[in-house]
């Protein structure tokens, strides 16, 4: 088990969300889209070095800005 941020995990890897160190509003927004503590998500791609991160959660595909992706910590098997 290792902790790694969504921005740093490799594309096409899965991980379980363990922490979202963002403000309440952002946490709620992610929560409403199905991204919350304990949820397993898969990173699809990363557009450029500082670009957005594309993830798959449930049946939805979401794009998170780089600065937001840094705040989402995952636990990888």
């Amino acid at each position: 088990m290792k902790r790694i941020s969504l921005a740093h995990i490799k594309a096409d890897c899965k991980g379980k969300v363990v922490e979202i160190s963002a403000g309440t509003n952002l946490q709620n927004k992610l929560m409403n889209l199905g991204v919350y503590k304990g949820k397993e998500i898969r990173k699809l791609s990363h557009i450029g070095l500082q670009g957005p991160v594309v993830i798959k959660v449930g049946r939805s595909i979401l794009a998170l800005g780089h600065s937001l992706a840094v705040k989402v910590m995952l636990e990888q098997e």
């Binding site: 594309a11 963002a22 509003n25 952002l26 709620n28 927004k29 992610l30 929560m31 409403n32 889209l33 199905g34 919350y36 503590k37 304990g38 949820k39 699809l44 791609s45 990363h46 557009i47 450029g48 500082q50 670009g51 957005p52 594309v54 449930g58 049946r59 939805s60 595909i61 979401l62 794009a63 998170l64 800005g65 600065s67 937001l68």
Partner: protein
């Protein structure tokens, strides 16, 4: 007694299509979140009663996290709960995420009906839902529909009176998600399928290398199709109609005209070699309809065809994530590309669509960039029509200048303006096969909107110019501005007419330049100036409404300064 029906649901689940089906009111729908930024209202006859139906902006949950969501949630509280029915529209292909709002609505005590939309797409993707079981678990009526084809709509209307509050205890978000997981396990069965071409393309468009490759291809092909279709309509339809049918009619009228006084001047305009010239006569019956129907309308049709197609397929949000990096430097995020693209059609819907951006700062930057650096279709059509004959180099030059301007302006505004730019978070919709019927409806809707707004203004504009010219009033204005226009921009003093008229409508303004016999350089400068100087009156009013007068003044000052600097720079840089 139900007094009002609300349509509520996550963004991009087809609320607007259901709304159109229920009320017959045509509204624009697209395959991306946030198409509906304004409320639409219509009426539905139910048991002989006319009930108001309100289409709310998309919301993921009842705790509002954005402006559009706030509007949706506050409206729900306008009537007491026994006087309304809440029609919760869900995306059948993504039930899990959609159920959060449904459970919250039931918890809050609203009389809810769930409408599982896009059932055909779910079947295509191998998603099978047990509707009866879901009805039992939720305790509310659940109807499966496909609004685009109309399947299930009749049943939906029949069951609206069944709406009544169900009982649920309030639980936390985490518990809600856990419960949703259990519900999904019971009602949803996923058929295992191999990846379809659609899914492979969906995936490729959000990866860095293949994504950029696809984006380049899509933009190039779109541009080619817009040009090709536009020119085809002009050469094969518009021009033959004007020259073979309309012109002989006008020639007869003109030759039987006895006294060629004020009215002749107003309606027909000047004759060239005793003949009417649609591009140069400047009459209300000659040049005005030719500009609108012969030069601009063909491109309006071709542009909106491609834009509507891209919207319905669901490509635009993918473009947004690819451009996010770049737009970040200009103080925007990727989603700003959608208002910008709409602005290329007409600045007014473009500026309105900046509502999808969260902060005032972003909206100000995006609106200013749209009004300065994004030329609308009518203006572009005229630029192509006029500058094209000097070669593609000049046309490309106008776009290049505008692009450079947008980048510089964005970089500066991003530095200077205070305030925050929120984090980028966007749901990427799946690709959907556009329904031809919907596409046609949307195209018709947009073209009709264009004609209603543009045609009268063009006629009045050309009439006003003719009156001013006839009574020599423009000489006074051009006398005052001649030194600026001539010395700074290298344009003849008559060009001031065009710049002034540009405030009314850009296409007419370029039309004013046609009889002046300008050189390629002069035309290039004038066209660029028309693009960056004040937006037309309609866009101006929207800017004021959306941003308030303080921001409008800021935006206007920036435009004036930029116009003078760019005009003068181009004049001194280009030697011939």
């Amino acid at each position: 007694m139900i007094k009002r029906i609300y349509l509520i649901g996550n963004p991009n689940v087809g609320k607007s299509v259901v709304f159109s089906r229920l009320t017959g009111v045509q509204v624009i729908s697209s395959n991306y979140p946030g198409t509906t930024v304004e409320l639409s209202k219509g009426y539905l006859s139910l048991g002989g009663e006319k009930i108001e139906v309100v289409d709310l902006p998309g919301t993921y949950s009842l705790e509002s996290t954005s402006k559009a969501e706030e509007v949706a949630v506050s409206l729900l509280k306008e009537y007491s709960k026994n006087e309304i029915a809440v029609l919760n529209i869900l995306d059948s292909t993504n039930l899990e995420r959609n159920l959060l709002l449904t459970l919250q609505l039931i918890e809050a005590g609203f009389p809810v009906i769930a409408c599982l939309n896009m059932c055909d797409d779910a079947a295509h993707r191998g998603v099978h839902l047990d509707i009866k079981k879901l009805e039992g678990i939720l305790g509310i009526p659940v109807i499966s529909t496909c609004a685009i084809t109309g399947v299930g709509i009749k049943q939906l209307i029949e069951r609206i009176p069944e709406a009544s509050p169900a009982h649920r205890n309030k639980i936390s978000h985490e518990e809600l998600w856990k419960e949703i997981g259990r519900v999904i396990d019971q009602v949803q069965r996923l058929e295992h399928r191999h990846h379809s071409i659609r899914e492979i393309l969906e995936d490729a468009s959000v990866r860095p290398f293949t994504g950029v490759l696809m984006a380049t291809g899509v933009i190039y092909v779109s541009f080619k199709i817009v040009r090709f279709t536009g020119e085809m309509i002009i050469n094969k339809m518009a021009d033959p109609l004007f020259i073979n049918f309309y012109q002989p009619l006008l020639e007869r009228l003109s030759s039987s005209w006895q006294e060629k006084g004020f009215w002749f001047h107003l309606l027909i305009g000047d004759l060239l070699n005793q003949k009417i010239d649609f591009k140069q006569s400047l009459g209300v019956l000659t040049t005005a309809p030719y500009i609108e129907f012969g030069m601009v309308l063909p491109y309006v049709i071709s542009f909106y065809f491609i834009l509507s197609l891209l919207e319905d397929i669901g490509y635009l949000p993918r473009l947004a994530i690819l451009l996010d990096n770049l737009l970040h430097r200009l103080g925007l995020h990727g989603y700003a590309i959608i208002p910008v693209l709409l602005g290329f059609g007409c600045n007014v819907p473009g500026i309105l669509a900046t509502r999808v951006l969260e902060s005032k700062r972003e909206r100000f930057i995006a609106s200013t960039i749209i009004s300065i650096g994004v030329p609308c279709v009518p203006l572009q059509a005229m630029i192509f029509g006029l500058l094209g004959k000097f070669g593609g180099f000049y046309v490309a030059g106008v776009y290049l200048v505008l692009l450079i301007l947008v980048v510089i302006l964005g970089l500066i505004l991003n530095r200077v303006l205070t305030g925050y730019s929120p984090e980028f978070l966007l749901e990427i919709p799946p690709y959907r096969f556009p329904s031809l019927r919907m596409l046609w409806q949307k195209l018709y809707f947009r073209i009709r909107g264009f004609l209603i707004e543009a045609a009268p203004v063009v006629l009045i504009g050309v009439a006003a110019i003719n009156i001013l010219i006839y009574f020599n009033l423009f000489d006074i204005i051009s006398g005052v501005f001649a030194p600026v226009i001539h010395n700074l921009f290298g344009l003849p003093k008559e060009a001031i007419i065009a710049l002034v008229i540009g405030f009314l409508r850009k296409d007419v303004a370029v039309g004013m330049l046609m009889p002046l016999g300008l050189s390629a350089k002069q035309l290039f400068i004038a066209a660029t100036l028309l693009a960056i100087s004040f937006p037309c009156i309609a866009a101006f009013i929207v800017l004021w409404k959306e941003l308030g007068w303080k921001y409008l003044i800021k935006s206007t000052l920036i435009m004036a300064a930029v116009s003078v600097i760019v005009g003068a720079t181009l004049n001194f840089l280009i030697l011939h």
